[in-house]
């Protein structure tokens, strides 16, 4: 059975149809001619061989289409509002590098959205070959404004304003306009040439020329691809130099806590036994922190979706991944995971519709949901059961020193009842079968391997 990818419909020249294990890109006449030009280019082979561009083969076109391409299926799709700063920066650099290589061979990228990039084996990969088109003489870069709104402004928001970009991109996938970005910039940043040109001047030009025809005027005035190339090279240098001061994450010193070092080996051993019993193709590591347990799963042959709400630790994990490591970091607050959104509410499916694990790891997590986020214990266990796969979970008793810290400013009556181990065991028995359990040395923490 085949169905249209709910996120691929905006470009009439190229759209994606999904099968159970296939991805087919359907092309019209114009899309086919652009593909043939791309296929004949030198950079296409280079970029594909390096994994910077998705592998592509031409296949028989279905009835009514001019051409069709087959791509490998990407196991797990993420969206820019789930990426860390370094992920968005690497994606932006890939976008610009491909632009430069394409311009060198008479082609260009017709759009500039991070939704065309996915993280595969710890590295960004451009997945929309339908974005490449033959360059038309005299044409400016159509995707420049989109690049600013969806790449440049979010990166500057974090690097220059110290404000995370993800909530903005989740609320408005088009990204901040140049006028909005200008208002956000601190005064000392407004004085830089990059801010004046890309943001201040663009905001003014946008306001003055809204809806005016300028493409013909530019072509007649002698606009060339060299001007695009000069702009792209400067943007690349600007983005490559951006730094994010990221030293104040809540969980960035977590692995230095006493219980973490003490328990890590036992938790690893417990997880390894579960991995050997379940043999998961994909694990979902909830509250992954530095990604140690995702790495353990990968060392046993699984792919890992590593979820955390702390950008500092997740960015560090992303930067530590060697090429080819099948760990996909996902930044999301588990109290409020990415919902289904976009056109008709289905264009971008919810995080837990995309993530289809065979095993869930919830180490060092549920006491934060219960004590900090005030989620009733019964809801937490129901949620873990909703994945409908085996779960490895760490229970933390009310007497644990970490719980003492989490509840330092709460009165007992402000906490949900049923937080003790007996209550947890009762809840677990309503949804799961206990495969194995083990106490950790401190006496307040217990590991469970649960099965449905």
């Amino acid at each position: 059975m085949n169905w249209a990818d709910p996120g691929s419909f905006r470009d009439p020249a190229s759209r994606v149809v999904l099968g159970d294990s296939t991805v087919t890109r359907i092309l019209d006449e114009r899309g086919l001619a652009d593909w043939r030009a791309l296929q004949a280019s030198d950079f296409f082979g280079r970029a594909t061989a390096h994994g910077r561009l998705i592998a592509t083969t031409e296949v028989d076109a279905p009835e009514g289409a001019a051409g069709a391409l087959a791509h490998p299926r990407i196991g797990f799709i993420t969206y820019p509002f789930e990426w860390t700063f370094s992920m968005l920066r690497d994606a932006a650099l890939l976008q610009l590098d491909l632009m430069l290589e394409a311009l060198g061979e008479g082609m260009i990228l017709k759009d500039a959205t991070p939704y065309n990039i996915q993280f595969v084996g710890g590295r960004p990969q451009f997945i929309d070959v339908g974005s490449f088109e033959r360059y038309r003489r005299g044409e400016p870069w159509i995707g420049y404004r989109q690049f600013c709104r969806q790449f440049l402004h979010p990166l500057l928001m974090e690097a220059w304003c110290g404000v995370p970009f993800q909530p903005w991109l989740r609320g408005d996938p088009e990204g901040p306009t140049s006028a909005q970005m200008w208002r956000l910039l601190p005064a000392r940043r407004k004085a830089t040439p990059a801010a004046i040109l890309h943001i201040g001047l663009q905001a003014r030009a946008e306001a003055r020329l809204k809806g005016r025809e300028v493409r013909r005027s530019l072509a007649e005035a002698g606009f060339t691809a060299d001007l695009i190339r000069a702009n792209v090279e400067k943007l690349r240098a600007l983005i490559d130099d951006l730094e994010w001061d990221s030293d104040d994450g809540t969980w960035s010193t977590y692995h230095g806590c006493d219980h973490v070092a003490r328990d890590r080996d036992l938790k690893t051993e417990f997880l390894v036994q579960a991995l050997e019993a379940v043999s998961p193709a994909t694990v979902l590591d909830l509250g992954c922190n530095d990604g140690h347990f995702s790495q353990v799963a990968v060392s046993r042959g699984a792919d890992a979706i590593a979820v955390d709400g702390d950008e500092v630790v997740l960015d560090r994990l992303y930067r530590s991944l060697s090429a080819g490591t099948p760990i996909t970091p996902v930044l999301t607050d588990l109290q409020n995971p990415s919902p289904s959104q976009g056109w008709a509410g289905v264009e971008r499916p919810a995080l837990f519709e995309r993530a289809r694990p065979d095993l869930v790891i919830a180490y060092g997590l549920i006491h934060h949901l219960i004590y900090s986020a005030s989620i009733p214990p019964a809801r937490v266990v129901e949620w873990l059961a909703s994945f409908d796969v085996p779960v490895v979970v760490e229970f933390v008793a009310p007497e644990d020193p970490m719980v003492g810290r989490l509840t330092a400013n709460k009165r007992p009556e402000e906490l949900h009842p049923g937080r003790d181990r007996e209550s947890f065991d009762r809840l677990v028995s309503q949804h799961f079968r206990v495969v194995r359990e083990a106490d950790l040395p401190g006496g307040t923490r217990r590991l469970y391997h649960l099965s449905r």
């Binding site: 017709k110 038309r136 005299g138 400016p140 663009q202 030009a205 946008e206």
Partner: protein, 64 residues
């Protein structure tokens, strides 16, 4: 209008000539002058068709 499924933003397009450096400043000035002339009615700007702007094969471009 030349076909583009994306709204490129008129201001963002003209700005690109300026962003291209010294060589682009002349292009930007010329484009703005021609826009100003067409607005004054000297030369009405007709809608441009896609046929008039066929892609240029790589070997024919100055830039390739």
């Amino acid at each position: 209008m030349i076909f583009a499924y994306l709204d490129p933003g008129s201001g963002s397009l003209i700005l690109q000539a300026v962003l291209g450096g010294v060589a682009g400043l002349g292009v930007a000035a010329k484009a703005m002058r021609s826009r100003w002339r067409s607005r004054k009615g000297e030369e009405p700007a007709p809608e441009q068709s896609a046929e008039g702007t066929e892609p240029v094969p790589a070997e024919e471009t100055q830039e390739g």
